[in-house]
Subunit: 87 residues, 2 copies
Amino acid sequence: MANVFRALSDPTRREILKLLQKGNLNAGRITENFDMKAPSITHHLHILRNAGLVQSEKKGQQMIYSLNTTVLQDVLNWILELQGKSK
Amino acid sequence: MANVFRALSDPTRREILKLLQKGNLNAGRITENFDMKAPSITHHLHILRNAGLVQSEKKGQQMIYSLNTTVLQDVLNWILELQGKSK
DNA sequence: TAGATATTTAGATTGTTATCTAAATACAGA
DNA sequence: TCTGTATTTAGATAACAATCTAAATATCTA
């Protein structure tokens, strides 16, 4: 879960997640949304993938990224527990 | 809200919050729980305070820290929204 | 197969963060 | 007022993270 928290701590990565919420995107499309070079986005995607927050699938020469929110459940529970609103 | 995410991204700080959930503590008591020198804990407490996650009150020569979970609501909503379970 | 496009990898640079030691500040009690 | 205790501040160091350029890899299409 530490990986998830660390991944979420960066604003670019949070914005990537928001983009993917609207639908799957390839790396190029994601990059278009930021004032940043492609390798930097690749780096962020790698961290997100490592945290389990996104999944990737190769489709021809493109890499399609999709959101995976299941790992957020732990984070959610952690916060709820801290708030004393659960468990 | 970015400050909150950044504050939560560190494991020591998350543990501090967990400690404070059980009750208010002065800086010394918090420090006892970690294998770390006092100035480092002060540093973490400063970041937590900046994020609004803790409050502090001077009591004699001690500084009493307490948990404030109200700022977690935004984080919670952000996550729920990403999960598509709200808004 | 050659050239174009999409993405990633490698390596460098820069900025940020966590930690430490030493010193400063604030307060309490004799 | 002096001494001890609690906490923070200042400044240094080392590890980590974000970004870039250049190059490598993979795939598509003519």
